[in-house]
Symmetry: C2
C-alpha cells in the first residue's frame, strides 16, 4: 500500500476520533458532530476537546481540556474553532501523534491574504509532524462501513445505506447535509468534501477510492484540478477497474471567478478540461442529479454489451422522447428478431415495433398486467437487444412480478435496465420507486435521464475495452 493510501486510512477508518471546538452549538459544532457519530453508531472511540467546557462528560463522551491530555491514541481529529487558533491546535495534534486532521473551520485561502498565510502555516506544521490535513473549509467524510459521519451540521436522519458509490467533491453540497441519501436509496461507500485541498487533494482521494474494494463507482465534483498531469494519469489507471464520473463546475469564466472566492481554487479553460477528461476516460456530468443518475446505473446494473436499446412504454409520446434521447447519447434502437416480432404481434397487433407501445393494448385488454410483463420479457430476451428502458405507467402496478422479471434479466441475461416511473404522482411513484430501487433496479424521474444513464453505461464499456486494449497492446 502506498504511504498516501495508508494515511487516508486514518481519515476514513480511524479507530479513535477527537472533536476539538465549541460543544454548545444548537445545530452546528462539536457537540453536533459527537451526537451524530453516536447516532450513526460509529464503531471507534470518541473524545471531546474543549478547555472551557464545564463538565468532563458530554453525552457518553469524555471531555479533555487539550488533546495532549487524552490518555489513549487518537487517529483522527476534527477541528472546528476560529481560524486563528487552528495552527496551534494542529501543532498539538502533531505532538500527540494524531495521524489525520479534518479542519472544518473556514476563513483561510478562500477568504483573504491572512487566511492564505494561516493555511500555509498549517500545512507546514502538518508536514513537519507527518500528519495529513483534509480541508480547511470542509464538512469532512463518511464511511458507511464503520458508521463514520463527521458532519458538523444537524441532520434529521440516521441512516445512509451502505453500497458501492463513492461521492466526493469541493463542496458539502454533494454530501449528506444536502442530500438525504438514504431516501434516494443510493448505496454509498464513502463521501468526502475536499474543502480547500490545502494538503489532501483530489489526486489522493482518487488514488484511495480507486483502490478501495468497497467502491465500484467514483462520482467526483471538482472546481479545479491541482496537478492535472498526475490526476489524469491516475484516472486513466483507475477507469480500467471502475468508472470515474466528474461534475466540473466553474466552467464559464464567471463561474471560475466565483469558484475562486469559494474554495480559493483557480479553474482553467473548460475546453482544456473537456478534452483532457475524455482522453483519460473520465465521464463528465452536467449537474449533481446527472452525477448521481450515472453512478446509480453504473453501480447497480451490468454493462451493456452493445448499444442496441429497446423501449417498452405505456405512452407513445414518451416513447418518441426516449428515441430522441437515445440517438443523442449514442444508442441505437434495436431491431427485434423475427421470433420476437411474431410473439409481440401475437400479444397485441402493433406491439412488434420498437418502442413497444402498450398504450393501445392497455385501453383494449383486461389482463394488461400479464401482457405488459410478457412484452417486457420477450423484448429483453431478444439477442438483438443490449439494454432496455421500461416506462412504467402509473396504472401498471404489478410490482412484484416486474421486480422478478427485472432481477432475472439482470442476473441471467446480464443486461442493464433503467426504469422511467411515468407520471409525477409523487406519493404513488415514490412507493413504487422505493420498492424497485431497494431491489437495485434504478428508477429515473425523466425519460431522458433513464436513456442517458444507459448511454453512459455503454460509453463506459467502450472506455474500458479501449483503455484495457491500449494498456495491454
Amino acid at each position: 500500500m502506498s504511504d498516501s493510501r495508508k494515511d487516508l486510512d486514518y481519515l476514513f477508518c480511524p479507530r479513535s476520533i477527537a472533536v476539538i471546538g465549541s460543544l454548545t452549538g444548537s445545530w452546528f459544532g462539536g457537540n453536533i458532530q459527537i451526537k451524530q457519530l453516536l447516532g450513526f453508531g460509529f464503531t471507534g472511540k470518541i473524545y471531546a476537546i474543549n478547555p472551557l467546557f464545564e463538565s468532563d462528560k458530554l453525552q457518553r463522551v469524555k471531555v479533555y481540556p487539550s488533546i495532549g491530555q487524552v490518555p489513549q491514541e487518537v487517529d483522527l481529529a476534527l477541528i472546528m474553532t476560529s481560524r486563528n487558533v487552528v495552527p496551534q491546535l494542529v501543532q498539538e495534534c502533531g505532538e500527540k501523534g494524531v495521524k489525520a486532521v479534518i479542519i472544518v473551520s473556514d476563513g483561510f485561502a478562500e477568504r483573504d491574504e491572512e487566511g492564505a498565510m494561516l493555511q500555509k502555516e498549517i500545512v507546514g506544521i502538518a508536514k513537519s509532524k507527518n500528519l495529513r490535513i483534509l480541508g480547511p473549509n470542509t464538512v469532512g467524510v463518511v464511511n458507511t462501513a464503520v458508521n463514520l459521519v463527521t458532519m458538523p451540521y444537524l441532520m434529521e436522519y440516521m441512516n445512509i445505506r451502505e453500497g458501492s458509490i463513492a461521492i466526493c467533491g469541493q463542496t458539502g453540497n454533494i454530501g449528506p447535509q444536502a442530500s438525504a441519501l438514504q431516501e434516494l436509496r443510493y448505496g454509498i461507500s464513502k463521501i468526502c468534501d475536499f474543502g480547500n485541498k490545502a494538503d489532501i487533494s483530489e489526486l489522493d482521494i482518487l488514488d484511495y477510492l480507486g483502490n478501495d474494494p468497497k467502491t465500484k463507482v467514483i462520482a467526483m465534483h471538482l472546481e479545479d484540478v491541482k496537478d492535472g498531469r498526475r490526476f489524469l494519469a491516475k484516472a486513466k489507471e483507475v477507469v480500467l477497474s471502475k468508472p470515474v464520473l466528474v461534475l466540473k463546475s466553474g466552467r464559464t469564466e464567471e463561474g471560475a471567478k466565483a469558484a475562486a472566492s469559494h474554495t480559493g481554487s483557480l479553474a482553467g479553460k473548460d475546453e482544456v478540461y473537456d478534452s483532457a477528461f475524455r482522453q483519460a476516460g473520465i465521464i463528465r456530468a452536467d449537474t449533481i442529479t446527472e452525477l448521481l443518475n450515472f453512478a446509480k446505473t453504473l453501480a447497480y446494473q451490468p454493462l451493456p454489451r452493445g448499444n442496441k436499446l429497446a423501449i417498452v412504454t405505456g405512452t407513445g409520446g414518451g416513447g418518441v422522447m426516449g428515441v430522441d434521447a437515445a440517438v443523442r447519447i449514442g444508442l441505437e434502437m434495436a431491431r427485434f428478431s423475427e421470433k420476437t416480432r411474431e410473439r409481440l404481434a401475437q400479444l397485441f397487433p402493433g406491439l412488434e415495433n420498437n418502442p413497444v407501445d402498450i398504450g393501445p393494448a392497455m385501453a383494449a385488454r383486461r389482463n394488461i398486467r400479464a401482457l405488459h410483463q410478457e412484452a417486457i420479457r420477450n423484448v429483453i430476451e431478444d439477442e438483438n437487444v443490449d439494454c432496455a428502458v421500461i416506462i412504467l405507467p402509473r396504472l401498471m402496478t404489478g410490482i412484484e412480478t416486474s421486480i422478478e422479471i427485472f432481477r432475472d434479466v439482470k442476473e441471467r441475461l446480464s443486461k442493464p435496465i433503467a426504469i422511467w416511473d411515468f407520471g409525477l404522482d409523487r406519493p404513488h411513484t415514490n412507493e413504487r420507486t422505493q420498492r424497485l430501487e431497494d431491489a437495485d433496479i434504478p428508477v429515473y424521474s425523466e425519460i431522458e435521464d433513464a436513456v442517458k444513464a444507459l448511454g453512459i453505461a455503454y460509453r463506459y464499456s467502450q472506455i474500458r475495452s479501449r483503455t484495457s486494449q491500449s494498456a495491454t497492446g
Copy 2:
C-alpha cells in the same frame, strides 16, 4: 370571434356532454369518465349512451340507447368504442346537432391503412354536419374554470388547481393522467391532448388559447406541425400577448419514425423547426419538466427588465454551478452598487460579492435567519439587479418571513425570483416547496433549472419587445 374559436368553445365550455361507449370498465371507459366528471364537479349536464346497458341510470346520470334519444341539446360527445362503429356514431352526433366530438378510440391513421380510411371517413362526416372533432386517439380536454375533465383513465385525485397555464400536446402524457398537477401546484387554465389531429389541429388550439383570457402562458408538445406557415404566423401574433413554449419531439430521424407510428404524424428536419420557431418567437423546451418549469416562472412572476442576475446561496459550490448556468442561458452576474456592497459587508465579511455566499456566516453566527433575510432584501432592492435566484438551505426554515420578502419584491419592485430548495430531503423540502408555491413563488429542484427559468423569462421579454417593435415599426 372567429368560427373556429366559437367551435372550440363547445369543446372547452360545453353546457352538456354525452358519453358514448362501454360503461363497465374498471379503470378505463365511459363510466370512468362520468365518475370523474362528477367527481371534479363539472357544472353542465351529463348523459350516458349505450344500447346494451341494463339500466337507465348510471350513478346520477341518465343512460340512453342512442344519442338521438337524448331529449335535450348536447354540445359535446365523447366516443370510446371500437373504431369500426365510430363513423356511424359521428353521423348520429351530427344528426342530433352535437357541436364537438372527442374521439378517444384509437386504431386510426396511427395503426394501419384501414384506420386511415376510417379517419378520413369520419372527417368527411364531421365537415358535412358542421361539427368539430378532437382526436381520434386522445384523452381529451381539461377546463378548470368549469371543472371539465374528460380523462378516460381512472385518476386518484379530484383537484387540479385553477390558474393561468395552458398545457396541450400530442400525448396524454402531458395531461392529468401522467402528472398529478395539483401536487405540483401548477395553476392550470386548460389542457388539451390533440391526438391524431384529424380535424382540430395545433393551429386551432393555439388560436383559441391565444385569445383565452384565462391563459397567460401556452405550453405545447408537438411531434409535427400540419401547416407550418399558418402556425408560425399565428404564433408570431400570439407571442405579443403571451409566451408560447414548445417541446418538439421526434427531433431525430429515429424519433420521427417512432412519432409516425404513434400519432401518424410526419415530422420534418429539426433544424428547420428550430430556426422557424426562433423567428416566430416560440421558445423551445427540451423535456417535459423544462416545459413546465419555464411555464411556472412565466405565469407567476413578472418579466425581468434586464439580464442582471443575483444569487444568494447557502452553498458556495451550488453558487458556482448557478453562475455557470447563468452564463450559458444569457444572464449576467449583477454588479452590486457601492451602497449594497457596504451593507452586505456590514452583515458579514465577504457577503458583498455576487453570488452572496452566506455559508461562512451560517457557521459563525447565531441569528442566521435574520441575516439571510437582510442579505436577500438588500440584494434584490439593488437597482443593478433585475432578477434573483435564492438557494434556500435545508436548515434555513424562516419560511413565513421569506414568503413576505419574496411577495414584497414581486409586487413592489416587480422583479422575478426563482428558488432552489437546496437539498434532496424530500419530506422537508416538499412541505416548504408547497408553502412557497402556494404563494406563487416558483421552486425548482435543480440550481440549473432555477437559473434557466429566469433566463427564459428574460428571453421572452426580449422577444416581446422585438416583435412589438417590428409590429408597430
